[in-house]
């Protein structure tokens, strides 16, 4: 203890208190507590770390100074999506999840932590309404984990190895799934046709060892699958499950996958009231019907309603605890740990604020703005849409006949303060619109693209 400062985070470094505690435990020195650590394993001297910023003001200035080098999507026109979306976050959401009671809690019992159990049960319940399914998990880490687990569940439920992906999926998601399931399952990717599933090719690929027909809607390129019911039927006819990866944002307006035959629905909840956070604000949902064959394969926690000794009082508890790795270690279903509960609470507050009308209107706004963006970008000389599918929020634009590559166009638009989208392989650009992007913003994008393509 070379440092004479009593650090505000470490009260018992007050010298008199420290001496009092040492005396109470009969130790001459703190070194005694480390007597079991062999000297060969001890750090010699100090760690080589930067000098601390001991005053709070200096610390705040330093870290905020670094962050201030960033430009936010509030300061530039952004059409970036590809897995992180710039939706509006109601102030109520940030108010609730900023509360210490929720922010600093962890793993108390359903007595002293009744509130988080109720908030997460309500999250599960509102997601259930949006998705028309009766069971939703306490969020897992993110949509990628949710999807990997949903497919692994299909493998365990069917006892089969095959996954047939029929949609354009985010390559990072495919990477995650491939590595996650590869000890037990094999992934076959059926190239899409005009943006959505190629039914004939899918039918060919689905067989006796197919565990899951995996549909992404909207696809990585924003395409909405219009043949979901037929794909689910193909899966079911082969004894496989229909696993649908999706974004729940538009199900106030669109028919949820359960209504056209999905057995497991999964995805990310970032769109539901979670800021972009540089891609780091995420939660994964997995929804199934209330069938123990499915429920008992879920690794995540599931909060259930219970009665108490007092009539009219709601209590909560963990449903089917004895399927988790907390209970059974490696004999549990996959694994579970600290994941994304606070984001689940955020999504619950979001859905409670939006209500059925808000979600329906938002869905319409997203569909309309997407259609408008598709129309306006298709009218830019040299640009073509990659497919003619119905789209939600994202569209892939082909630059093959343009005077600039999509990469060069991005650079040109960035120089004009616009992030026009994410470059895709094949000289394409993935353009994203949300309710935060107006028709006038879309006009600006189209006009600026027209201008830079003309200049080159």
């Amino acid at each position: 203890m070379n440092n004479p400062v009593t650090h505000p985070y470490i009260p018992n470094t007050v010298p008199a208190v420290r001496e009092e505690i040492l005396a109470a435990v009969g130790a001459a020195d703190i070194e005694e507590f480390y007597a079991d650590i062999p000297s060969s394993l001890r750090v010699q001297g100090s760690l080589n770390l930067p000098a601390p910023l001991l005053s709070e003001a200096e610390l705040e200035r330093h870290v905020s100074g670094l962050l201030n080098k960033n430009t936010s999507t509030r300061e530039a026109l952004s059409f970036l999506g590809a897995g992180t979306y710039n939706h509006y976050v109601p102030s109520v959401v940030d108010e609730v999840i900023g509360r210490s009671e929720f922010l600093t809690a962890y793993a108390g019992e359903p007595y002293e932590d009744h509130g988080r159990f109720q908030a997460l049960f309500e999250y599960q319940s509102m997601m259930g309404e949006l998705l028309n399914m009766d069971v939703v998990n306490v969020p897992t880490y993110d949509g990628m984990q949710a999807t990997a687990t949903a497919l692994a569940m299909a493998g365990r439920i069917t006892g089969r190895r095959g996954i047939v992906l029929v949609s354009d999926a985010n390559p990072d998601l495919v990477s995650k799934v491939t590595d996650y399931v590869r000890s037990f399952m094999d992934l076959t990717i059926i190239p899409s046709s005009n943006g959505t599933a190629d039914l004939a090719a899918a039918e060919q690929a689905i067989g006796a060892d197919t565990a899951a027909v995996w549909i992404q809607t909207p696809s990585f390129h924003g395409a909405l699958e219009e043949q979901g019911a037929r794909l689910a039927q193909l899966a079911h006819d082969a004894g496989a499950l229909a696993v649908v990866g999706t974004d729940p944002i538009a199900y106030g307006a669109l028919t949820p996958p359960a209504d056209w035959g999905a057995d497991i629905v999964c995805g990310d909840i970032q769109s539901l009231g979670i800021h972009q956070w540089f891609g780091g604000g995420r939660g994964g949902f997995i929804a199934v019907h209330d069938d123990p064959t499915f429920v008992l394969e879920m690794p995540s926690r599931l909060f259930g309603l219970e009665s108490t000794d007092v009539p009219g009082e709601y209590g909560f508890g963990d449903v089917a605890w004895d399927r988790t790795s907390f209970a059974l270690r490696e004999e549990g279903k996959e694994w579970v740990g600290t994941a994304a509960a606070l984001w689940g609470i955020a999504a619950g507050v979001y859905l409670a604020s939006m209500g059925p009308t808000g979600m329906a209107e938002l869905g319409e706004t997203l569909l309309a703005r997407t259609a408008y963006a598709a129309q306006q970008l298709a009218s830019v000389d040299g640009l073509e849409l990659s497919d003619s599918a119905l789209h939600l929020r994202e569209i892939a634009v082909d630059f093959s006949n343009a005077s600039l590559t999509s990469t060069a166009a991005v650079a040109a638009l960035r120089a004009r303060g616009i992030e026009p989208g994410v470059v895709l392989p094949g000289n394409r650009l993935l353009v994203c619109v949300t309710e935060q992007v107006t028709a006038a913003d879309i006009d600006t994008l189209a006009a600026t693209l027209t201008a830079v393509l003309k200049e080159n």
Partner: protein, 520 residues
Amino acid sequence: MALPVAPKPALRRFHQARWDEPIIFELSTPGERGILVQQPEPAAVDALALREDRLAPLRRSDAPALPELAQMRVVRHYLRISQENLGADFNIDIGQGTCTMKYSPKVNETIIRTPKLMDVHPHQDEASIQGVLEIFWRTERLLAEISGMARVSLQTQGGSAAIWANIAMIRAYHEANGDGGVRDEVITTIFSHPSNAACAKAAGYKVITLMPDANGYPDIDALRAAVSPRTAALMITNPEDTGIYNAKIREFVDIVHEVGGLAAYDQANANGILGITRASDAGFDLCHFNLHKTFSTPHASGGPGAGASCVSEKLVPFLPGPTIEKVGETFTVNHNHPQSVGTVAPFFGVAPNVVRAYAWIMALGADGLRQVAETAVLNNNYLLAKVLEIPGASAPYAEGKRRIEQVRYSWQELFEETGVSSEEIGIRMSDFGMHYWTSHHPYLVPQPFTLEPTESYSKSEIDEYVAVLAHVAGEARTNPEIVRTAPHNQTVHHIHHDDLNDPARWAITWRAYQKKHLSN
């Protein structure tokens, strides 16, 4: 009655908020709105109308039965139930052993709540995200120094996910060396976190679990017997949940290395050894930290946390991608990792928690981190001495040994004497605004409870916690009924468990409850 006010009683007269708040669906009034949303422009509506023939079949016919509440009612509902939750800011939260419930500094909350982080997209031009890239890069370097490892991935969102990333790298490493097919076993210990065993199994490995020897140490002879050319890795914690430091840890690692296996160190609970000893010193190939434990990010009602997977040089090629590099004075994203295990989580990781952890380390520096460790250990041994003064409490294993940052205690003697279980005592603690956690399963220590005081609590707070613990243990003898029927001062009363394991009766959503129990 007049001034002066009488002195406070010895124990705090606590009662948690009890709003008796309905489930949110019960608060719904058709037509109320919580927020209004942006409407599409006429031109956008027209554009959509051109697609209506194809869109019509995809439209939802019945609106989702979400609740309809005015905005203030939403706020009131959630703030009421927030008061029915005992955050660590309110609680002397030393009862959540293994979870390192330290103080999450408020300045870090101020720092992260800026559009310069909240409203930043990961695909932006690198020139416009230099600040956050620099913080990720710096945090990686700090954690590399603290662990002694070469590189660190911050991509995962929690400790178990970091364990998964580590086992994925172990699998890729052996496959790259051509013996992935042979090495199909992972060895762990029963006092290591269950996710070590569970992630290994999920990755396709057979799991061998070592039991402790008579003194509570992982059994080195059992390890010698377990290793073979089939060993892919040892995944182990030290100190384990017992708080006992395994002095032979280097030998454990060497034994595994001798058969060509890798050694992964679960450092979720590194708090007591920061700056004292490092994973690299014991020869480990991988380790992981939980930024929400040792590095102070708030536990967030159960996440998001953040995991840091740290690896030695030979595992670097297998790190999850992408990585963040410093080239000259510029920070840049590097996707070029052909041997990478690929994406284990979206983008770069939990940015707000990486920033919080960075700020926490920078508030302390090397000396401060060492003070954290030393004070956490001092507090823990003080707590140990105080708990052992409570009749009926014990700390099994390694009698007389000092413990590092936590201890798994036992109420077995008290249970034998009174029939009151550790779970029941824990629930009664909540009547005093306290909490404790028992143990992971299986309960190797009978009637367990696990305490970890960290560096954050003052002596007087530790004393207050122990006073409540002693009081409740006393009640188990003098008034066991009050313990068994607890809680009494809580939001809700004794909860029934009859329906939670019965598929015909469990209610995981409000709609399922309506269907199954109210015939709606």
